[in-house]
């Protein structure tokens, strides 16, 4: 009698658990399908496409080519150049964002008043669309004679410069623009983790006779390390796949001076209409991004 009762109770429990699982699956399904349709499927389609010759300008040559696109890619000087541009762009923007963001956060932490206002102003560039930021910089800031930057350069006696026409200046410009827009993000994250550091250990360090610099080197920096590494990881991934701001400011030019890998893939696919080769470039970017992220995550775990 009791035996039977417990058995049914257990069965009942199992049925209930099963029903609950089915219900959960039903709830998840739409989101899961949408995710598959918008990320996983395009990804596989991209890889599939990269195995074809698909040239809209010369459709008669189209067909399956296997790894041919990749062997072409490895011998393509413009690919290697764009990869270098990507790395220079990524490293310099990320380093600048972390250094400036940290400096600002340290400054603002010491501000007695006006912190709220500063944060509000600081967040503005982040909420703008990168395309809009690109337009603002191209027209208001960098336009010869009329742009604010050029105006300042003229007044400083440097003379009018062709900010976006000179290869080096164009590269510097797109780096500055990206840094300008995204430093506030690093600033906000680092400020938040600075604010969470206990105050008493700084007092202890003062009594232990550490100078301000020693307190920064020995206490602040190690304690901020997780936040800094996180910012580096997040910003690196974004910088590697940056697009809109460069596209609107220089379009990758002059020539290929600011053509990061992402932009090269775009130009190949949609300007030169070589969709198969463009896909191979995009896959190469994906691999580079994954490799770098893996290295960064490994560094994060180390120690």
């Amino acid at each position: 009698m009791t035996q039977a009762a417990t058995t049914t109770a257990r069965d009942f429990g199992r049925v209930l658990a099963q029903r609950e699982r089915r219900f959960a699956a039903a709830l998840l399904a739409p989101a899961f399908l949408a995710l598959m349709a918008t990320t996983t499927f395009p990804l596989f389609f991209l890889i599939w496409t990269s195995a074809f010759r698909m040239d809209l300008a010369m459709p008669f040559t189209n067909g399956f080519v296997g790894f041919e696109n990749y062997s072409v890619l490895l011998a393509d000087e413009r690919f290697w150049t764009s990869l270098v541009v990507s790395l220079v762009y990524t490293v310099s923007t990320v380093v600048l964002q972390v250094v400036i963001g940290l400096a600002l956060a340290l400054l603002v932490m010491d501000m007695k008043r006006g912190q709220g206002l500063f944060r509000l102003i600081a967040i503005l560039p982040v909420v703008l669309s990168p395309a809009v930021v690109g337009m603002i910089w191209r027209t208001f800031m960098l336009a010869p004679e009329f742009g604010i930057v050029d105006f300042l350069a003229i007044n400083a006696g440097l003379g009018s410069k062709n900010w976006l026409g000179d290869p080096l200046l164009a590269m510097i410009s797109v780096i500055v623009i990206h840094t300008w827009q995204w430093t506030p993000f690093a600033f906000m994250v680092l400020l938040a983790s600075l604010a969470s550091l206990p105050e008493d250990i700084y007092e202890a360090a003062r009594l232990d006779r550490a100078t301000a610099w020693q307190r920064f080197r020995r206490i602040t920096l190690p304690l901020l390390r997780p936040a800094i590494v996180m910012v580096i990881i997040m910003r690196t991934m974004v910088a590697l796949t940056a697009f809109a701001a460069i596209f609107t400011v220089t379009g990758g030019g002059p020539g290929t001076a600011t053509e990061i890998l992402n932009l090269y893939a775009y130009r190949k696919s949609f300007t030169e209409l070589s969709i198969g080769y463009g896909s191979a470039l995009a896959v190469a970017l994906l691999i580079v991004t994954i490799l770098i992220s893996a290295i960064l995550f490994a560094m994060r775990r180390a120690k």
């Binding site: 008493d200 250990i201 202890a204």
Partner: protein, 350 residues
Amino acid sequence: MSGRGQVQFRDIVKMHGDFAALKDVSFEIKPGEFFALLGPSGSGKSTTLRILAGLDAPTSGRVFIDGKDVTSTDARDRDIAMVFQSYALYPHMTVAENISFPLEMANMPKAEISAAVKDAARKVRIDHLLDRKPGQLSGGQQQRCALARAIVRKARLFLLDEPLSNLDAKLRLETRAELKKLQRSLDVTAVYVTHDQEEAMTLADRMAVFMAGEIQQVGTPAEVFARPNSIEIAGFIGNPPMNLVPARYSNGDVIIAGHRFKTIMQASGERDVVAGIRPGALRVAPSGLSARVELVEDLGDTAVLDLDCAGTLIRVRVSDENVPREGDTISITARAQDIHLFDPTTGKRL
């Protein structure tokens, strides 16, 4: 090392907006002394310690260490070590790194540092934990680590802000005894903040009793216990606290709940007073103030009785032998020198 670590506070005031955390505090600490700052929570003890350490600046007044005015000297340059109530260990460093930090900042050679760290760790018995991070230590071990970090550098002043308050009762008693031995062996001036009168009584050579931002009495624990300056101190020091009952003084006697007690006061005349008698100073006797036993708290070796003396509550500590039972009527007496008289309006001792 004597002659080092003399402290003088002169007319120190600390304001937080309109609120006076310290109102005109002056005191002096002699070299080599174990000095306690005792007082209830919020009475300004930590504020005093932080001003002494140089972590906060006083609103007015001057601080002298070894005869030198250090009021505007930065904490870094005062040569003071401190154990924080929160311990304030560096969370990313191991115990060894925590302890060696003050030595590294003083540019001590590496070889000497590791010897000094081991020595300090051994003194507080954490030499087996040197490789752990503070997060992997128990509260008592963290406290010892903070202690080791403070003693490793031979600072001229050693400050402790309620170092035992986060420990459990048993550990607190053990550590208390060790602290005293440590201070003796180091021969260093120590300033010890506590709200626990028992800690101050057992540890301190002298103590300052704080009440609401003011020092009400400075003296040895025995002095303060024997002659509390005010009703507040009388009620704060001693466990259970002193009985404080409204009474009438009349020509050398004091009348409590209708019974006349002899006092050591000689003054003639009559006036209202507050009479204070320690629970341990009252005796059960054949004749005296008669009282009904309301409650018996048996503490093992002694018992505390709550007595109802014609409506006034009086507590008595009696030793084991013949403890009355609840409901009994007994009578109690006290010696003249054990009766303290206070002014009911000013609260000061008469």
